[in-house]
Symmetry: C2
Subunit: 700 residues, 2 copies
């Protein structure tokens, strides 16, 4: 029986397998039913063993023969049915291998290799209802994912999960970079500064959770393909032992589903450097292929917007004397976008309903009616005429019932106006998202509950029907669903630039160096970089970076929709550094991390998908850096004109953030460059491939 047949059969048939490929009796033969099955990664780097001991399933992970995950439990607590983690026997096992390469419609790299070994197991209760539970492990050289599958069976059809018991017991002592979960204060509790502590001091954390051991092993725990299930947080229950803590629905249960269904993949990326963590494609690989067919209508690109002025309190979202979203302002932004090659113009505060307390309430928003001083159809037409696209904006205040009632009409309107991307927002305290239950009772949800997981994806699929891409703010975390739904272009999901306008505190200089190796492991982030007015003596915002670092963020913090967030005036005042923002693309054929340490610094290079140009971005925390990099990534047969945007000799985030030096050099792939980053600084480089069909003559 081929593996594919076995797998189909596994989904369709009775619990006992003909195939028992790698099940073995455990060494200690005390309990006759104890069994274990194992699988290694294609390069024999990782090995996973799943065992059932005294009826309880657990797993362990080794890397190069050394333990990474010590014995960790698997299972559930089901509502009304009790614990579903014991009394099991391992009744079936199958292995398979897969090695394929797929192409991304847009992304950090064009081609993605998906190379893993798989172990599928069936667990069956030895008594009582004899219910079955399946487990699938996919093991890569750079990590693994596993998920539970609830098979179609009479004894367990409607499943209400009270708790998922999946554990992750980290074997070697580790430092953790983490974001506390379950704090109701923030807009969305992903918007909390990254904590760095020993793993033994973590309470409950969101994922990705990034760990580094004393021996330099880097581990990221996360999940992939979060669909119709509650988001997984991780609670530390003892020592370095973490357990899944699913976000609860308002009613207290975590997940309601009907079998057959599968949970999201629980994922571990395991690598030797921060850069190798970032380079992993495991999360994308564990998502299903593109479900939308032709997605050529999904357009990455840069945008500007009527946005930062509101955060600076110069303009307002609501109508009035300081209203930002006026026809006049928007025309000016459209003109500037057209003149400078921006595809999009975002206008926030264009629609009725911003008056008063909309935060966490959102019941007055209209998603189809513009304020009177904002000529939506006229501006949409003017934008089209200038070759620019308005970006829609749907701030819900977290009231999803109110939003869903208007969703179809709102997206229809957008589509009719040529608006092909919409930024959504869910500003509400973290457990105060409003919905109506089946009986019309208002309930309050976390952003990452199953209800909200469904809602976010519903907006995306409704958008897809109308060829509209979605940029979700105050979102559910990214679990790689962009592979399946490529119109889910980007999202927020961490502390963005706006905290520098009004945050208490503002983002510290290490913030972005934390993000690269924590939040960015999940996927694109609409961070909204590009603030040029950094002078700390001016009132208003306090952005703790240099100007060169703002440019570098366009390469370092990937987003296929990438904003130039500052006011037009500030770009007009500094045309030379602004040239980098004009030049930098948002869609890449290759990405490499040249160096980096979690929370300290990172240097990435990416190749433009539409040309042979490369771009480099390097950022640091409070420490200045001298980083020597090889340009070996460049095509050896070409020469490049490097335009280098670097911190001036006296630059420092604290007292000289706007000091920048711009220079040009011709370089080739045998060159080394030393990047000189000021404290809180960065460096951005465009490597423009020089023209010519060249003939190289080499003598030796």
């Amino acid at each position: 029986m081929s593996y594919q047949n076995a797998a189909r059969w596994l989904r369709r048939t009775a619990p006992l397998f003909a195939l028992l490929l790698c099940v073995r009796a455990l060494a200690a033969e005390s309990a006759p039913l104890d069994r274990a099955a194992s699988v290694s990664s294609p390069g024999a780097v990782l090995k996973v063993e799943v065992s059932v001991i005294a009826g309880r399933p657990s797993y362990r992970v080794w890397r190069f023969g050394e333990p990474v995950i010590a014995q960790s439990r698997l299972g559930f607590v089901l509502k009304d049915e009790g614990k579903f983690d014991r009394n099991f026997e391992l009744t079936g096992s199958a292995t398979a291998s897969s090695d394929s390469t797929w192409e991304q419609p847009w992304g950090e790299r064009r081609f993605v290799r998906n190379h893993y070994n798989e172990l599928k197991l069936r667990l069956t209760e030895v008594s009582g209802a004899q219910r079955a539970l399946d487990l699938t492990f996919r093991v890569y050289d750079d990590g693994l994912g596993f998920r539970y599958e609830f098979p179609d069976q009479a004894a367990l059809r409607d499943v209400v999960i009270d708790d998922e018991l999946t554990e992750f017991t980290i074997a070697p002592p580790a430092t953790a970079w983490w974001i506390p979960a379950g704090h109701p204060q923030a807009d969305n509790d992903l918007e909390i500064l990254v904590h760095r502590t020993p793993l033994t001091e973590v309470s409950t954390t969101h994922t990705p959770l990034t760990l580094r051991t004393d021996r330099g092993l880097h581990i990221a725990l996360h999940e992939a393909a979060l669909i119709d299930y509650a988001g997984m947080r991780l609670a530390r229950i003892d020592g370095q032992q973490l357990r899944a803590a699913l976000a609860p629905a308002a009613e207290g249960w975590k997940v309601r589903r009907s079998a057959p269904f599968a949970t999201p993949w629980r994922t571990l990326v395991i690598a030797d450097s921060a850069g190798a963590l970032y380079m992993s494609d495991l999360t994308l690989n564990l998502n299903e292929p593109n479900a939308l067919g032709d997605v050529s209508w999904v357009k990455p690109g840069k945008f500007i917007g009527i946005w930062w002025d509101m955060h600076l309190n110069r303009w307002t979202w609501e109508a009035g004397a300081k209203h930002g979203a006026t026809t006049e302002h928007a025309r000016r932004y459209i003109d500037f976008a057209a003149a400078n090659g921006f595809r999009g113009v975002l206008v926030e505060g264009w629609n009725r309903g911003w008056e008063g307390e909309w935060y966490g309430r959102g019941d007055k928003f209209s998603f189809t009616e513009a304020y009177p001083d904002f000529d939506l159809p006229g501006l949409a037409a003017y934008a089209r005429f200038r070759g620019v696209h308005l970006i829609g904006h749907h701030e819900t205040g977290g009231n999803i019932g109110h939003y869903e009632a208007q969703l179809a009409a709102a997206l229809d309107l957008d589509a009719s106006l040529g608006i092909d991307s919409v930024k959504t927002g869910y500003v509400a305290d973290a457990n105060q998202i409003r919905r109506l239950d089946e009986r019309g009772v208002e309930r309050r949800e976390w952003h990452d509950s199953q209800v909200m997981v469904r809602h976010y994806l519903r907006v995306v699929t409704e958008g897809a029907k109308r060829h509209i891409a979605i940029d979700t703010h105050e979102p559910i975390k990214d679990t790689g669903l962009r592979r399946t739904y490529p119109n889910w272009l980007t999202r927020e999901g961490a502390r963005g630039m706006e905290y520098n306008a009004w945050g208490q505190p503002v983002n510290p200089p290490e913030h972005e160096a934390n993000l690269v190796f924590t939040r960015m492991l999940a996927g694109p982030f609409d961070f909204t970089p590009g603030i040029f007015a950094l002078d700390p003596t001016r009132p208003g915002s306090r952005v703790k970076t240099t100007l060169a670092k703002q440019l570098a963020l366009y390469v370092v913090l990937y987003s296929p929709l990438q904003m130039a967030a500052d006011r037009i005036e500030n770009y007009e005042a500094r045309p030379e550094p602004f040239r980098f923002i004009r030049d930098v693309p948002t869609d890449w054929s290759e990405t490499l991390v040249l160096n980096g340490e979690v929370g300290n610094y990172a240097t990435l290079v990416r190749k433009d998908r539409r040309s042979d140009d490369w771009y480099l971005g390097s950022i640091t925390d409070d420490e200045g850096r001298l980083l020597t990099v090889s340009l070996g990534f460049l095509d050896p047969a070409r020469r490049y004109r490097a335009t280098i945007y670097r911190d001036a000799a006296n630059a420092h985030w604290r007292d000289a953030p706007e000091e920048i030096t711009i220079e040009e050099r011709e370089v080739g792939n045998a060159d080394m460059l030393t990047l000189r980053l000021a404290a809180g600084g960065g460096e951005a480089i465009r490597f423009a491939a020089l023209p010519g069909n060249r003939r190289v003559s080499v003598k030796h």
Copy 2:
């Protein structure tokens, strides 16, 4: 007045300078004499400020505007004269810049750039004898060195230093990799395993002392050009405050000199990565240029020897039934060396005097008389006939008076036999080196006292007169004197391979990954790699590495005299991996660190000085590694045949150390390679440049 003139004048004339280039009054004007002078590195990365506050000199160091060295005292305690660290005024200051490149006769790279800014200061006592003390700081982008100069002056001619008060107060919290100093147990207290602790737990340490801060800053404290002065250890006096602790002479004083003289340079290499620490040439640059003239007679090369068998207790040093150094054995080693391209054959135990307790005693050794079963002249002639060179061996047992009495005759004999390199040894407890003082009284010295600093260099200069290179075991630490005395080819100075034969404990898997970024910062190390018999089930040695790691050490642990330390039989049994040892050179035109973390792993590539071939060595600690490296260092116009020696899929230092896979591939500089290192493993690659005057046609 030019700087050069000013400097000459400073050395020759009265203490008051006409030049006061950058002296400024300190902000707090409380004491009218308070003054400070500062200098920055050429790229404005580092800034040093020296200040005299209330008569006391101190210095501080910033990097990119952030403090690295907080206020740290300068000065001395002089015997009979008391403290020489107060009552000072800053009476002169001059700055200069220098940027030059010099060529090494042999080394890790051929050309070395020496680019620094210099600040010279004169301190003068404001009352009493008004003695002067000069200070010179040289500041590079990757670190700094400073030294004291005792000028020629009537009031202070004969100087006896009881203590040097130089402090190093590390500003950011740091982890330290260090070797405790002053322990009398070991052969030489440099031969202690590297400790890793918070800096606040260091007691007294040897240098190089390697530090890493939480923000990823790497700092190495050491000294350069240690000549006629006591070796500097560092004692932690409080928090992260370290103070020079000079090795005492037997009589208790630290240094006796007559002015004018200069101390060694106190050095700090400061960089953003472990690799950048290693890449610094600061120590060499702070040494004086080659003082020996034509040194074409100094020959790097590989050697084998009658050595490991003695450590394994199969053979003995002393004559008898198991005597290792027999004519028959030596002929066999000469034959094997000739057949396999080794330049040298070391024979230990060739000379009379090994009987009984020679350790720390050494009074019976003859350095000219061979044991009767060792035909020295005949073997020297046979070696010459086979194109091989005997390597002399002078084990002193730490009795330097006994050795010095025979030194000239011994070196004359060696020279007459065509022996052009000599390995010396000083096996004695760490404070039990024997010498006779002026009155004929036997005194006991540390290996790093001023007396021994003089002795070690005397052997080197006596060797140089006879065109003999020296490989010092149980040595004084390396401070870059190979620049001035290029016949000081290599030395021991840390725990080498022999500890794996009888050490309690043997070297752990992390040992070499510690060495790269601690001991190796000082200079070449005759570690004696290349043990092939690693099977832990065999009795005898226990080498906690894989075979591939043994090969990688030839690239990673630089020594221009590099041993293949195992028994001939073990090489004959594994000709395929032995081929790497045959191929690998010992002299390089370029060296690059591709990646690495202190104590965890390191990947280095070096270019053969005599060909276009490159060699890669990568090693790891207890953790296996997947390390992706760019081959951008290769010449873009050439192709290379890579012969890859890597850990087999099942290799592990613990239970499968000899499992190795060897494969060949053609590669170019646009390729990426993923190195797969087993736990305790490594990888070695030869990139042989393919022949051909190639014409590359590239279309775009």
